[in-house]
Every structure is written in C-alpha cells, then in structure tokens.
Amino acid sequence: MNSLTLYVMTASALFGIGVYGLIIAGHLLRKLLALNLMGNAVFILMVTVAGPFEHGPDPVPQALVLTGIVIAVSATALALALMVRLYRETGRATLGDNDGDEEVDDG
C-alpha cells in the first residue's frame, strides 16, 4: 500500500464516520464534531492532491485548505453560538420535532 492509497483511505474513512455521526447523533455538539470530521477528511484529500511531485508539492491546494480551515472555524463558531442560544431559549441542545408552527401560532 503506497502513501497515496493510505491518505485517500483515511480521508474516506473520516468522511464516512462524519456522515454517520451527523445523521445518528442527537446532541448538536456531536453533530458539529461530525461535521468538522467531514471537513478534515476533505482537507486531507486536498492535501493529497497537492503532491509531492518530482519538483515538490503544489502550493495551491495547501493555500485552499488554509482558507477552508478559516471558513470551517468561523462556521463552527457561528454554530456553537447558535447552539448556546438555542439551549438558553429552549433548555435543550437538540433539534426536536416540535418546532415551526406551534410556537408562533396564537391558536
């Protein structure tokens, strides 16, 4: 098994675990962790795309991954803030089924 296969397989496994966690987990924090895992899988794959070739690695995908990490961090921060606010308002950090209509409806 060469290193390329190893990287791709690691990325695939991480992505799969992330998707599983995102669907199965109830607590929002777990869902966010799962999403970050998926993000890391994509980043690993993009670093794999970058080489190294004979003349050294291609810097562009690595720069893209850096930007991607910045975006992932800010998105996670926004999600955490939303989660905390949701917990303060409803006392729960999950997405229950009873949402939407009832609370705004004055009946």
């Binding site: 995102l22 994509v42 794959l45 291609d58 989660m83 308002e89 229950g96 939407g100 409806d105």
Partner: protein, 486 residues
Amino acid sequence: MTGEALAGLVFLPLLAACAVLALPSRSGRVPGTAIVVLSLVGPLVLLLPITVALWTKGAFSLQLAGFDRPLGIVWRVDALALLLLWLHAVVGALVGVQALASYPTATDRGRRFWPLWLLLSGGMNALLLSADLFNLYVTLELVTLAAIGLIAIDGKPAALKAAMRYLLLALMASLLYLLGVGLIYGQTGTLDLYQAGQTLDPALLPITALVLMLTGLLVKSAIFPLHIWLPDAHGNAPGPVSAILSAMVVKVSIYIIWRLWFWMAPAWELMTAANLLGVLGAVAIFYGSILALSQKRLKMIIAYSTVAQLGYLMLVFPLASAVAFQGAVYHLLSHGLAKAAMFMAAANILLSLGTDNIKRLSGLDQRLPMDVFTLALAGVSIMGLPPSGGFLGKWLLLTAAWQQDGWAWMVVIVAGGLLSAAYVFRILAATCFHPKAAGHNRNIKALPPAPASIAALALALMAIIAGFASAPILGLLEAGLPPEMP
C-alpha cells in the same frame, strides 16, 4: 471605469457593513441611515456603466490584481450575471426600505442586523461575478453564514431551530462542493471554471466531482428532496430576511449549478442526469404546491410556494434549448420580484395582526388594502397569468417543451400553474372573507409603516411589468446564451 464599478458592487456593501459596526452607539440615527441608504442605492448606479459596457462590447472579464489564470481570480460579466445583479440590486433596495423600517440603524437590533445584511449583499454580488470555483465556494459560504445569522437575529426559538437545521445541512453541502473542487483541481490544475471546462473530459473522476458539487448545491438551493430546511427557515425568519432569502439566496446556488452545467460541462452527454434533475423539479412543483395548500400560516404557504417554484428552474436541464434557458431565467427574475413582494406584504400583515394564521386574515382587504393588493398582484405572476413576468417565463418553458414534443414536461408546467392558482386563491379568499358574526378584522394592532407597503407594491408591480418589458432582457439573454446551446 467598469472595473471600478465592479469593485464597488462588492466593496461598497462590505465597507458599509464595517462602517455601521464601527459607528459609536450614541451617534444618532442620521449617519447610520445615510450609510445604509447609500449602500442600497449605490449598486443601482454602479450597474449602469456595467450594463452599457456589456451592451456595447459583449461579455467581459476582469483579472483581480492583474494576476492571470490559473493562479489569479477572474471576474466575468455576461448576460446571466448582469440580470441577476440587477435583480439583486432592485430587490435589495426595495426590501431594504422595509428592513430600515423594522430595524432602525440607531437601535441595538438595527446595529446587529445591518452588518449581516450588507455582508450578505456584498457576498452575493461577489458570487455572481466570480468565475473561479474556489472563489465561488468562499462567497457561497459568506452568503450562507450571513443568511443564517439573519434568520436567527431576533432569537425566537422557532427561528433558532430553523437556522440551526439550515446551518448543519449547508455546512455538509459546502463540504461536498469543496470536495468536488479539490478533485477538479487535481485533474486540471486550474480553478477557473471556463479553463477547467476546456481541459476536462467526462471521465469517472470529473463526473464524480460534478455530482458532488451538484449535490451540495442542490441542498443549498432547496431542490426536492433536499428542501427540508427551507420552509421552516423562510417561514420563521424576520419579514425582510424571508424576502431576500426566497428572492435571491436560494437562486444564487441555482446560478452556480447552471454555470457548472452549461458553461463548465456543456459538451458532456449527461441526458440521464438532466432528466433526473428535471424529474426532481417536477416532483418539487407538485409536492411544494400541495404542501402549500395544507399550511396554516401565510408565511409557510409562501415558503412552500418557493419550494414549488424553484422546481421550474430545474426543467431547463432536460429541455436544454435556447428558449428553455430564456424561460428559466425569466422565471427566476419574475419569481424573485413577486416572491419578495409576497413575503414583504406577509410581513406587514404579521406586524399589524401579530399573527399570520390564515384563519385570522378575514376582512383584511378593508383594513390593509395595499398589502392585500400586493399579495394579489404578486400572486398573478406566481400563478403565471398573462400579462405578468411569471406568465412569460412559464410560456417560454412551455414553448421549449412543445418544440421537443416533451408532453410530460408540458403537463407538469400547466398543472403546476393550476396548483399555484389554488394556493394563491386560498390566501386571497381568506383575506376577502367577511363573516357576519366577526365583523371587520378587530384584531389589528398597528398599521404597517407606509414605505414598507409601498416598496412591496412596487416589487409586485415590477413582476407584472416584466411581462411587457421583456424585449431587451430576452435580447440580452439571446446574445449571452451558454455555449453549445441548440
């Protein structure tokens, strides 16, 4: 001159967002309002030289900071991008009138609201200009994150939950898109959409990349069955936010899908996938309309109507002709105007009644005549009755289906129009219903601010006028058709 105007489209809202954030809290209402008005009107002025340039010279590009492809980022203006920029400028300015009324800049709410709103605006302009796959990803993230902040801005539990669900799905969607971008870069060594298209063949890896990107974008543009986040998010967001979400935010991801499909991979033989996308659109039309018929709240009806109307934009894939493309773009434009008008009128009604439960709207035609009139006019365009913009879009799609003997698509288009008539008339019947026992609507708390009602009416009127003023728009599209379009 055009270069400066293009930069202004992106940087004016971004700078204004920073300026609103930096204003001291005791500065009064004048400076904040002035900044916001400038950034709402500015794009309308900046678009004039760009339109003239496109009209005289045809499509043109701008290399940012003078770096050429493959390393540099290129902005490209063609007919499709220009029309969406205009839609965004017009809808943004008029919805902004309502937003200014409900979120005055001097208040705490306003100071939280406007930076996000302007960020969203700048992000969308950058997205529409960009011809770079990774730049599209960054701007799409900017748009999504700002939109989620705006949905949750009032901190109501229902809106918070809707925003959270949207955020989780949107993050997953952008990772799928990013994965596709990574694969395409690995194949081509470029991020430029047009350059990548020239080097790519429809082999296994590029098709995998395209499928990943499309799946992500279909989530973000809420195409059935990936629409589940949309009704709650659009139905529970504050009024002006619902309007801009339905009119613009979902459309920009469809814009990227079109760009990838018709510009990056125009020569690939993807008839099966095209038919699949068309079937998804057809199911969305039926499903969204039927669910709109069973909703209890006005804003939820309008939100499900968006799910249905977005389905029409998918019909361009199986039809794939110049007429179908013109029809889909025209439908997108007129739906943007009409849906923004409907959501604004619904927000005015919600403000004055304190509820938008459909049962409580009786007698509203006498208390809020202008808003009910707006709902009716916008409804005419949504239903696709002549002489509205919505009619013309659907008519062109119907013509395209007729030319190709696509009987199934014709049935879908006509039946979708009838179903939308059903839910629009359900709204109008509720507002014009006068039960003797209850008398006129006594629940009314306050009248909506007049500018908000006038702005909504102006949008609805434009959706109707779009049916008359089609010649220049269709001519522009004719000149800017995607390559290889029959």
